[in-house]
Amino acid sequence: MSSPFYRRIIISAAGLIAGFVAVVTLHPTGVTISAALISHRSSPGSRPPASASGTGGKSGSTDGPQAPTTSAPSVTSTTQGPATTTSTSQPSQGPQSAQGALEQYGYGELAVKVTVSNSKITDVSVTTLQVAESYSGNIAQQAVPMLRHEVLSQQSANIYGISGATYTSQAYAASVQSALSKLHFA
């Protein structure tokens, strides 16, 4: 049997579901963290970009999805916005952290810091959070820790998601991805 693959797409939404920014990641099953990837936020009611689902699966790195035996997670993405940054540094086994790019998330700005050790994400924290008004603050206080939990739990407990409230910042996802890219983790 050929190797199973895992593909994730993230769509952002306004209202029920409207307009999305989508990015696909692709990596072998069993590798856990799939950092959420978002290029930019959508505006309410907007139509999705035609090529929104991207064309994941093309990885220039040697530990890309074509090598399912690798122990290092590989995340491949196609982004349509400014969210991700690339890095030429080599992967490292020691604890390392990087700060993600500052992202606009509709209600304010945020940036996250991702710590990676031995190819595992060990911490995700919010380094910058600016919100426009109090309501947004509540959303951020609710969504950010939950997402943090989701990012961490997905690589440890075979949990495929969290049922509950998700006021979410795609910005958080984008920032995580940007930090991972800097660590050459993605």
Binding site: I10, S12, R47, T55, Y167, S169
Partner: protein, 245 residues
């Protein structure tokens, strides 16, 4: 106001990526179509036109009639606690449409090469297949008290939905008293169809623990309720997972 939606697809064979991407795209389109049709915020949606009296019953789309039918079913099954006709502004099936849309979208992902898929829209989740050979789908239920904690982990075959007073204050309306009300900190429902799981979770959150009396009689649906004291109540058939498994 944004809700994060994710679609995860597990499939066999790298060469099938394009196939899977096309399916994902169709799935997304399904979600978007549903939103365009049933959005209460978009003035030109079928729902808005219906509410505004612009459409009579014989002018409604097949999907709209399906939603009306399911709303009637959900109202009956929940003994009136799910009641999209009780809200101000007219018929509002939002508490059921989202689940229905996701359930429709997940069906677009089924194929020979896909062995598992999950769609999560703002915490309402539908799955098909299995993620791997070892175990089924495990989903955590968010703690209503501490944002970065989970209350429990459940094994799910089809769908799971959670409603909570912490979610969107004022959005849960008691259909009998017509006032904003959530008697539980959170209500989670697991079952074969997310459309009903979604509606039941909302109903239970409004009604409180007493709602288990009707829920337990609906076959294949189970619930975890958490009250404001942190006490939890579950139906017998739920599969709770030890986090270390």
């Amino acid at each position: 106001m944004g809700t994060l939606s994710t679609i995860n697809v597990f499939y066999i064979g790298h060469q099938n990526g394009v196939l899977v991407e096309n399916a994902i795209e169709q799935s997304c389109q399904q979600l978007i179509d549903c939103d365009n049709r049933f959005s209460a915020w978009k003035q030109d949606s079928e729902l808005s036109r219906y509410r505004g009296g612009e459409l009579s019953d014989d002018q409604l789309s097949r999907d709209f009639l399906e939603i009306l039918k399911r709303c009637h079913q959900a109202k009956e099954l929940s003994q009136g606690w799910f009641d999209p006709w009780s809200l101000e502004g007219g018929f509002d099936p939002t508490g059921l449409v989202k689940g229905w849309a996701i359930q429709q979208a997940i069906s677009k992902l089924k194929s020979d090469v896909v062995f598992g898929a999950v769609i999560n829209v703002g915490g309402d989740i539908a799955v098909c297949g299995r993620p791997n050979d070892d175990h089924g789908w495990h989903f955590a239920v968010q703690s209503p008290f501490e944002r970065d904690k989970i209350s429990c982990i459940l094994e799910v075959d089809n769908s799971i939905a959670t409603s909570g007073g912490y979610e969107r204050a004022g959005e849960l309306i008691d259909p009998f008293l017509k006032i904003p009300c959530s008697r539980l900190a959170s209500a989670t429902v697991v079952g074969p169809d997310l459309c009903f799981a979604d509606a039941f979770a909302t109903s239970l959150c409004i009604q409180g623990v007493q709602g288990l009396t009707w829920l337990k009689d609906i076959s294949n649906y189970g619930a975890v309720l958490i009250d404001y004291d942190g006490e939890s109540y579950t139906t017998e058939d739920l599969r709770l997972i030890n986090p270390r498994d």
